[in-house]
């Protein structure tokens, strides 16, 4: 089976390709990349990519697939459909499922279900501590052997400095990074949005930026002390971006990610008690958004990841203080990132690298490039395509997005997973 993607604008940061080329796919792998391959190829399915950007399939290393246990919000099938629709071919899924991803059988269940029924590659992230309770380390060696790519107690920060120290050391023993959700819970208290003018006006309890910064500082110190790999999830404050920048400068093995909502929205979005603007970390101030932009531009931030967090309608249609945290993000990552390109915050090449090879490197997967011989995960993007987001039309089971009704620029037109088309946008 041969597929020829013809005449697209190929953008592959790893191979420094940025121009009009064809891609030939054979048996799900990249067989050749070159100009006018068509002349030498016959009996291939031709995909015309004129006017489109052709890039490695996008990689989102922060996704909650909710499977097993919380399938009323999302499952591996619906979640990977949403991914494909957003041009995403690989996701790392977080362990706060039910049961928690803290045993090998759960890792295997996810990988098998994704292989059989999914339309994206799924890489489980396993829990740092058993049941994410923060007491005892999970069986990291066996979990890694079963296929998990990193460890995180995402959503529930590890309070004990001692346990976190040992987590770094033990995970490093098996060559896996620690992904930290950084929050000092005592500073968060009952806070439900960013502490600041808007919270004061709305009478909602605030979460101060220092809750994230203080925890980020501890994680960086522990990674430095243990000489282990740390990945900071969803940095949202000026301070935590700066802490990562300084740590990188002195050689700490730290990487970090930012979410589209944190680089797009401020806490002003909460006005009207909009529960689809409630997430953790909370939407911050404009100064924080500017700092995230700067971090993306200067390379401090290594990846764009969505923290795709599907919640049922009933879990959001409540008083703000008791609404669940998080929004769906897989289907809006690409256009929101393209906004950064259109407004000159980052280059197109940076945008693609932030969504492909750079996140791939963080979790150590052989994706995110169009190397000859690599698995042919591709996305065809129309960077100018204008569309209106209708939450009801999302492929995700959940519709909790603050971007409903937004005019978007840029969309995945076609998504290929190992050479097979898993999504094609109706036009």
């Amino acid at each position: 089976m041969r597929v020829l993607v013809k005449n697209g604008h190929l953008l592959d940061p790893v191979n420094n390709i940025d121009g009009r080329y064809d891609v030939l796919i054979e048996d799900g792998k990249v067989a050749a990349v070159g100009a006018d391959l068509a002349l030498a190829v016959n009996d291939a399915e031709i995909i015309a990519a004129d006017g489109l950007l052709v890039a490695p399939g996008l990689i989102d290393i922060h996704v909650h697939l909710r499977d097993p246990g919380l399938e009323y919000k999302e499952d591996i099938i619906s979640g990977t459909h949403a991914a494909a629709a957003g041009g995403v071919t690989s996701v790392a899924c977080m362990p706060n499922t039910s049961p928690v991803i803290d045993t090998a059988p759960v890792v295997e269940y996810i990988i098998n279900k994704a292989r059989q029924h999914g339309c994206a590659n799924v890489y489980p992230v396993a829990a740092i501590s058993q049941a994410m309770k923060g007491d005892v380390l999970s069986e990291m060696g066996e979990l890694k052997a079963a296929g998990c790519v990193a460890f995180s107690d995402d959503g529930v920060p590890v309070v004990s400095g001692e346990l976190m120290r040992r987590a770094f050391e033990y995970a490093d023993t098996f060559g896996a990074p620690i992904i930290s959700h950084a929050e000092d819970l005592s500073l968060v208290g009952e806070g439900c949005m960013n502490e600041g003018d808007v919270a004061t006006e709305l009478g909602l309890k605030g979460i101060p930026w220092v809750a994230e910064d203080a925890a980020t500082a501890r994680e960086i110190m522990l990674a430095e002390f243990t000489n282990s790999r740390l990945h900071m999830a969803h940095v949202s404050t000026r301070g935590s971006v700066e802490l990562v920048r300084q740590a990188k400068a002195r050689g700490v093995k730290v990487t970090c990610e930012a979410t589209p909502h944190h680089f797009t929205l401020t806490d002003e979005a909460v006005r009207g008690y909009n529960t689809n603007a409630k997430m953790n970390p909370p939407l911050r101030s404009q100064a924080d958004v500017d700092a995230v932009h700067a971090g993306l531009a200067d390379g401090t931030i290594d990846a764009i990841a969505t923290d795709h967090a599907p919640h049922h309608y009933d879990e959001k249609n409540v008083e703000f203080a008791i609404a669940m945290n998080g929004i769906v993000g897989l289907e809006t990552m690409l256009p929101l990132t393209m906004n950064l390109v259109r407004t000159g915050v980052i280059s197109l090449r940076q945008a693609i690298a932030l969504m492909t090879c750079q996140p791939a490197a963080i979790i150590g997967i052989d994706r995110g490039s169009l190397n000859v011989g690599a698995v042919a995960d591709l996305v065809l993007i129309d960077p100018e395509f204008e569309w209106t987001l209708d939450a009801k039309q999302l492929k995700s089971k959940s519709k909790n997005t603050p971007f409903d009704g937004w005019t978007m620029h840029g969309a995945a037109i076609r998504t290929l997973l190992a050479g097979r088309t898993v999504f094609q946008r109706e036009q």
Binding site: E201, G203, Y273, N317, V318, E319, A321
Partner: protein, 311 residues
């Protein structure tokens, strides 16, 4: 003017003219409360549900009396605030009540924004009787009414609000109300009780109570919640009383004709000494009396039908 509100959710979106209109209406209703027969037929046949998810005897009673004096049928419902525990969502609770066709729901809830939430989902009028630490419009209006009663005006006055500003549900409404009416508002408290961004609401922020009340016309003391003692905000009520309590000594710093307000219930000896609470400056019971008139005005104003010009 024609002021035809569907709901009363907060002071933030009211204009000065609308606030004055409410206060003028309240003045008309106040007269009824001093009659032998304290009842007019204005809202005959209307049903008012006092839906209180949080105990508040004072506010609920005031609304209940207001409704009854206007001849409305008032029903009190006390519901558990925690819908999670109860297993029924706020929307379901409210929709069940709405199915019985009340005309007005007066709601108190522990969650900020709960009244906005309900107003968006119900067909009947909603009056906010306090939502979390957000707004408490009827309290701010009765405070303004009481100040106007004693000072004959509000414009040009300086009013100090002192206490736990962060956790007060009346302070935002009062800041909006008084500044819209032309008063200068100061807020005072220890820094642990002052949220960021107060200046943006249009007030001056003080950490020294003595400085805050110097030469002011009105002082509004907020209730300090006893359960906060020994938590992280203040070390003890004793220390709080020493630095942030209003007493016969520090009240001399204010104007000689200063009036002292308190939304109640008071903690005597904590935020206010008994000598001040019972002293010549206090207008605290006037506030309670005026509360009924102000709430009658609010119930009246939300229950008009479609506005028709000059029938």
């Amino acid at each position: 003017m024609n002021f035809n509100p569907k709901h009363i959710l907060g002071i933030k979106n009211l204009s000065a003219a609308e606030i004055h209109f409410i206060l003028d209406s309240a003045a008309s209703f106040k007269e009824i409360n001093s009659r032998q027969i304290k009842k007019v037929p204005t809202l005959r046949g209307k049903t008012i549900v006092n839906l209180f998810f949080e105990a508040s005897t004072r506010t609920r009673t005031s609304f209940e009396i207001a409704g009854k004096r206007l001849s409305a049928d008032t029903i009190n419902i006390s519901a558990s605030s925690s819908s999670v525990v109860k297993g029924e969502t706020l929307e379901d609770t409210a929709k069940n009540i709405e199915a019985m066709h009340p005309d007005i729901i007066v709601m108190r809830h522990s969650a900020s924004g709960a009244c906005d939430y309900l107003a968006q989902r119900l067909k009947c009028s909603v009056i906010n009787a306090g939502d979390g630490t957000h707004e408490h419009p009827s309290q701010a209006l009765l405070d303004a009414f009481t100040i106007r009663q004693h000072k004959k005006k509000i414009e040009g006055l300086t009013v100090t609000i002192a206490g736990d500003i962060t956790h007060s549900r009346v302070v935002r409404s009062n800041i909006y109300c008084l500044t819209k009416l032309g008063a200068k508002v100061r807020v005072a408290g220890p820094r642990t009780m002052l949220p960021p961004g107060l200046e943006k609401l249009g007030c001056e922020v003080f950490t020294d109570l003595r400085e805050a009340i110097r030469d002011v016309d009105c002082i509004m003391m907020l209730r300090i919640q006893r359960e906060r003692q020994g938590k992280t905000l203040i070390p003890s009520l004793r220390e709080y009383a020493r630095f942030y309590g209003l007493n016969p000594d520090n009240i001399k710093l204010a104007k000689s004709d200063v009036i002292v307000l308190h939304p109640g219930p008071m903690n005597r000896g904590v935020e206010i000494s008994s000598l001040v609470a019972d002293g010549p400056h206090n207008v605290i019971l006037d506030q309670v009396e005026n509360g009924v008139a102000v709430r009658m005005a609010l119930l009246y104003l939300v229950s008009g039908g479609e506005s028709v010009q000059n029938v």
